[in-house]
């Protein structure tokens, strides 16, 4: 605006030039606007996500403890030493265990529950069911863990008291290396059950009614409709839940591990994510923690890529 005013006062003949200048100015501002709009976002992800990825890779080649002024270059040592660390091996085993137990529990169990709720979707109790089933999803993992800590308490917890009613022996849920991981698995299953179920229910509701009507006119039974029409059409949701569960399950249990067991007893409830946290912030082995970070990132990227490739090829989109 300021650019145009002197020209405008100069008279009629200069007006085309003024308009042209105003136009250039306008174009300049308009041309920059998109970058101004996305600028803050790009700066933030650059500084707090992309730069840390690069810096982690750098740190993974050094030996450092947060405090020493200089870092020692150690090449690939942080990576090659990992297989020799029994704690890392236990963390790998834990990661695998969480994955093979929690993926079925968080993917198939909610699916079963959704199929169970489907025939009674129009019942008046449905809203209350959904609220009760979904509630665990929206609270903090750490607070959920505190609630369960009280239930699992060996001497006074309600779970052991209930077991005692049936004549069972007291179980030291969180301090026995055979049961501690199951306690965390129970909490994690409890936490996602309702959310995944709602995703499935919504997908079932999204199946076009004509398909179902056409099939039932042809005499298909409810079970046949479920198997041949509804289920194939909700496979995208099924794979979405599968992918996100495989990728995030070991990340998600962090809060529960931290509050309930701190990775113990004897590293029986730890996983790679928790190992990274302990290396970095309990033992200050920054190089080792960074090496694990690089590996976790590589594994996550690979998993994401493989699963999306697989989904694109094998899933029927309705």
């Amino acid at each position: 605006m300021a650019v145009t005013s002197p020209d405008q006062s100069a008279g009629r003949q200069t007006q085309p030039i003024a308009t042209k200048r105003a136009w250039t100015w306008y174009r300049l501002v308009e041309g920059m606007t998109p970058y101004l709009l996305i600028g803050p976002l790009l700066i933030l992800i650059g500084v707090f996500i992309y730069w840390p990825l690069i810096y982690s890779s750098y740190l993974s080649f050094y030996d450092w403890n947060f405090v020493r002024p200089d870092k020692t270059f150690v090449g690939w040592d942080n990576f090659t030493r990992l297989p020799d660390d029994p704690r890392f091996i236990r963390a790998l085993r834990g990661t695998l265990f969480y994955t093979v137990t929690l993926v079925p529990l968080q993917v198939f169990l909610p699916l079963g529950l959704a199929l169970l709720l489907w025939p009674i979707r129009k019942s008046r109790a449905q809203t209350s069911y959904r609220i009760m089933l979904f509630s665990p999803t929206i609270i903090a993992y750490s607070v959920a863990a505190v609630m369960w800590l009280w239930i699992f308490n060996p001497l006074q917890g309600i779970l052991n008291k209930a077991l005692a009613e049936f004549g069972a022996e007291r179980v030291n849920w969180l301090s026995d290396r055979n049961t501690a991981i199951w306690a965390i698995i129970i909490v994690a299953t409890w936490k996602t059950l309702g959310f995944h179920m709602l995703l499935y229910l919504a997908a079932l509701e999204g199946v076009p009614k004509d398909y179902v009507e056409a099939a039932s006119l042809d005499g298909a039974s409810n079970w046949q409709i479920m198997r041949s029409i509804r289920f194939p059409l909700i496979t995208p949701t099924f794979f979405f839940v599968l992918v996100t569960t495989v990728i995030s399950v070991n990340d998600d249990v962090f809060g529960a591990i931290n509050v309930l067991t701190d990775g113990g007893p004897f590293d029986s409830t730890t996983n790679v994510i928790y190992y990274l946290y302990q290396q970095g912030f309990q033992f200050f082995q920054i190089g080792a923690a960074s090496a694990v970070a690089v590996l976790v990132f590589a594994a996550t990227s690979l998993l994401t890529w493989v699963q999306f490739r697989f989904i694109e090829r094998h899933v029927h989109y309705g």
Partner: protein, 290 residues
């Protein structure tokens, strides 16, 4: 004749269906009991006096209920301060995330500029980076900036985690009719004006959902504030509760501990009750079909 037998048949069918339904309801109620019990047990304990906390029976309703655990909790630990920290951090981060993600979502949905596709892909790619991977460098950065034990140390790095919201809002902006924007353009509105006067008022429901999800996410955030907030007074509710767990063996502690847990769960449950439909719809439509 035929119709009579059909009627009998359908009657029998209906009875069988009704029996099935009763069975389904029974199973679902059992599962609901499993998901809701920890909440009920927490609430129950939070209203019990120390003498009743350790009773042998399943006593969901305290015989002699008390509110004393709440002031006790505030007395043992700075629970009020933690609540204020949780609330402040969640609110400011949510406002910040909106200020960042709404303009970006608009630009990616409606403007074409050099590098737009690559930049959008870079934004989306941040969604697959697990939080734990960036924790060490960000910790070093925050400590070098002297932001340890401050709200800024929690809030500013968290602002980077907005890719999902950008994606969600962009989906929404794309559904607005082009005519709406063209009309404003013809009237001479600048891009900025289109954003503030046309786009924002028309995507209010999506913005509301972002506010709720972001607030929930930040209220529940654990790992990052656990690392940044070490001072007793600086903790949030989700991270401060560990002080209770360190003293978890005495009867005096369980009541106040569950009272604090109840305080920590109420805002999320309240938000959820307020916007149940929107939260679920958003997750379903944007998260999946996009």
């Amino acid at each position: 004749m035929a119709s009579a037998s059909t009627m009998v048949e359908s009657h029998r069918h209906r009875n069988a269906a009704r029996g099935n339904r009763a069975l389904i309801h029974a199973v679902v109620v059992l599962i609901c009991a499993f998901t809701i019990f920890p909440f009920l047990w927490m609430l129950s304990t939070s209203f019990k006096q120390a003498g009743e906390v350790f009773t042998q029976d399943l006593r969901l309703l305290p015989h002699d209920p008390t509110l004393q655990n709440f002031p006790d909790a505030f007395g043992y630990f700075p629970v009020a301060q933690w609540f204020w920290n949780s609330f402040g951090i969640a609110s400011i981060t949510t406002a910040g995330k909106l200020l960042i993600s709404v303009p970006a979502a608009f630009a990616f949905a409606r403007l074409s500029f050099k590098g737009d596709k690559v930049l959008f892909a870079m934004v989306l790619a941040t969604m697959i980076v697990p939080g734990i991977v960036t924790v060490v460098p960000n910790y070093i950065l925050v400590s070098n900036l002297n932001w340890m034990n401050t709200w800024a140390g929690v809030i500013i790095p968290s602002l980077a985690g907005t890719a999902f919201f950008v994606f969600l809002l962009r989906q929404n902006v794309m559904t607005l009719p082009q005519d709406l924007i063209d009309a404003a353009r013809i009237d001479g509105a600048s891009t900025f004006k289109v954003l503030t006067q046309i786009v924002v008022p028309n995507i209010k429901p999506a913005i509301a959902v972002v506010v709720i999800l972001s607030f929930l996410g930040m209220w529940n955030q654990y790992l990052w504030p656990l690392l940044i907030l070490n001072d007793f007074e600086a903790k949030t509710l989700a991270t401060g509760m560990q002080f209770f767990t360190a003293n978890a063996e005495s009867a005096q502690m369980w009541g106040p501990m569950m009272a604090t847990a109840a305080i920590a769960t109420l805002p999320p449950l309240f938000l959820y009750a307020l916007a149940q439909r929107q939260i679920i719809d958003t997750f379903v439509t944007s998260g999946l079909k996009g």
